[in-house]
């Protein structure tokens, strides 16, 4: 046989929502097609005609893993459209909320999905069986993030307190203080995690990334300018958030309903590695020390090193969460106004914030009553999709001697580095065996 077709379902037993097809003919890679269903496209249409106040609740339903990111990009874009600024208390609490999402999302991926690849294990379930205490550490870390979301957002999965102008309710000091003991444990656990993953043996792969992330005076979450570096160290292009669509162009992949986003017609990387490389100067001291102790030098240029970047960001988020909560205690006069009044107007607003998987762009056109006329959402996975394909094009020729099964597994490992945001808008049991 001269032609090989390798097919990989990106989510086990869930066909059609994420798949990879590789075609090899006469020892040569002929095609690599990554197909990812993107829920945001539906939501763009669904948002039309909706009042601005409904938007944070609707976009949170796009994703059960990163609802805060969708809410943050939405509120910042709409506040920009209305010419609003939020209070400093709200700005800090939004960072704290984002810390919670980074901690839960990154911990889940590091422990349940990515670490098993470097340990010769098939899944997080095997890690549970072989190293139960290590997995328990990861799950407890995840829970620390969940608790931040619950205290600030009202619930862990789909926060309900985020609104345009602030929060519907601000937490009491003692509510936040109740998180501190566990956060102090988490800081040590995050250091242990970083040392653990930095010791993994990793394959060599250096695709020569163009990195893109927000960058500014603080490690980016809700703020910073879009910054691009083609060698991982030099910031060779910056533009304001308003300029996103001027630089990053979406195109329809002919074999998929998903859009691919390109920079100057070329793939680029968003996410933890891009953020870390472009924001080394704003890393917290504890993260710099932990990276140095683990022997990690920046920039990271190998996709498998994403697990190191995620682990570093868990430590970054835990350490910042502690400071934010201690500062909140330090206010002493109570939390102040939960949100500022909104005056809608006919306008257009955009925002980029840093979702766990990378830059998340929202643009809203609103009418004079504050109803959505048009929405555009560019999630990080559509930005990384062309990059994932490019990595596979580069890697596959070197492993063509592998069996189909082993080759598919190797492709999966590359894709897993990105933790692609495959739609989780629906989550039902798919069963082949039926119990009466």
């Amino acid at each position: 046989m001269t032609t090989r077709n390798i097919e990989v379902d990106l989510m086990a037993r869930v066909e059609g929502e994420g798949a990879l097809e590789v075609v090899v003919d006469k020892g040569e890679v002929k095609d690599v097609r990554l197909k990812i269903f993107e829920a945001p496209r539906f939501f763009e249409a669904f948002l039309k005609g909706r009042h601005y106040s409904e938007v944070p609740d609707i976009v949170a339903r796009i994703c059960g893993i990163c609802p805060v990111a969708y809410q943050m990009s939405a509120v910042h874009a709409i506040e920009s459209a209305f010419g609003m600024e939020v209070s400093e208390t709200v700005r800090k609490l939004r960072r704290l909320l984002y810390c919670g999402e980074w901690i839960e999302s990154h911990s889940l991926h590091v422990y349940m999905l990515h670490a098993p690849d470097f340990l010769g294990l098939d899944s997080g379930l095997e890690l549970a069986r072989s190293e139960p205490e290590i997995l328990r550490r990861g799950l407890r870390l995840k829970k620390v993030g969940d608790r931040i979301l619950t205290v600030l957002g009202g619930r862990a999965v789909h926060p309900v307190s985020v609104c345009i102008g602030g929060f519907t309710r601000l937490p009491q000091t003692n509510e936040l203080r109740s998180l501190l003991d566990e956060l102090h444990w988490a800081r040590e656990a995050a250091k242990e995690t970083l040392a653990w993953v930095a010791g993994f043996e990793m394959p060599d792969l250096s695709p020569g990334y163009t990195f893109a992330a927000l960058s500014g005076n603080v490690y980016p979450m809700n703020e910073g300018a879009i910054t691009v570096s083609r060698d991982g160290t030099a910031h060779d292009m910056s533009c304001a958030s308003d300029g996103f669509e001027g630089h990053f162009k979406e195109r329809q992949a002919p074999y998929s309903t998903a859009m691919q986003c390109l920079l100057d017609e070329k793939p680029y990387l968003v996410g933890p590695m891009a953020r870390l490389n472009l924001n080394a100067a704003s890393l917290r001291p504890v993260v710099r020390e932990a990276l140095a102790e683990a022997g990690v030098e920046l920039p990271l240029v190998n996709p498998y090193h994403a697990i190191i970047a995620r682990s570093a960001e868990v430590l970054q988020a835990v350490d910042e969460a502690i400071e934010l909560i201690e500062d909140y205690e330090g206010l002493g006069t109570g939390p102040g106004e939960p949100y500022r009044p909104v005056t809608p107007k006919e306008s257009v607003g955009t925002a980029v914030t840093e979702a766990p998987r990378g830059m998340l762009y929202h643009r809203y056109a609103l009418d004079a009553d504050g109803r959505v006329v048009e929405a555009n959402i560019v999630p990080p996975t559509s930005q990384n999709q062309a990059r994932m394909e490019a990595d596979l094009w580069q890697m596959i020729p070197s492993i063509l001697s592998l069996s189909d099964e082993a080759l598919a597994a190797a492709c999966e490992r590359v894709i897993r580095c990105y933790d692609p945001c495959i739609s989780c808008a629906t989550h039902f049991l798919r069963l082949k065996r039926v119990a009466a």
Binding site: A12, I65, G124, R155, E412, C424, T426, H427, F428, V434
Partner: protein, 162 residues
């Protein structure tokens, strides 16, 4: 007697996938006050860890098995734990995944139960279908019965005071 928790799963904007959420919201008025009822989008590790041997967790979820829409299924732990737990994305971790991990870590999940309803469509933007709407009262009744049994004697015939 241990705690009894009912968790409805689904997405209100995704057709019949909303059935778990709708059921949970109605059950808040139907179940005893000491039964914790939650409605949310996805299952989580926290649902299954830290349980005592007497605690009972009942999930209500949509099911896609090829049966007639509106068909009600009852599963226990062994029914949902299976092979095929490899994922490229953390977005794919569902109930079967967390149940498998909880069991492997020795958590007390033997009193886990799932009441599921076969769905016609989970397309984003669709409403709840006629067969699912028609079968909802029976689903609520089945949950009430399961809760009563759990409070009385525990699931699987294992009395909480045994």
């Amino acid at each position: 007697m241990g705690r009894v928790r009912v968790i409805g799963l689904g997405n209100m904007l995704a057709g019949d996938d909303a059935v778990g959420l709708i059921a949970a919201r109605q059950l808040r008025d139907l179940l005893p006050a000491d039964v914790e009822v939650q409605a949310r989008e996805v299952p989580d590790w926290d649902d299954l860890q830290g349980l005592s041997g007497d605690d009972v967790v009942i999930f209500i979820d949509a099911v896609d098995s090829g049966a007639m829409p509106g068909t009600i299924f009852e599963f226990n732990l062994g029914d949902v734990i299976g092979a095929g737990l490899r994922h490229c994305s953390s977005h794919g971790l569902g109930l079967e995944h967390w149940a498998s991990v909880a069991e492997a870590l020795g958590e007390h999940v033997s009193h886990l139960m799932i009441l599921g309803m076969e769905i016609a469509s989970a397309e984003l933007g669709d409403g709840v279908s006629e067969p699912v709407t028609a079968a909802l009262p029976e689903l609520l009744q089945r949950v009430e019965q399961a809760v009563a049994k759990a409070r009385d004697e525990g699931l699987n015939g294992k009395g909480s005071h045994a």
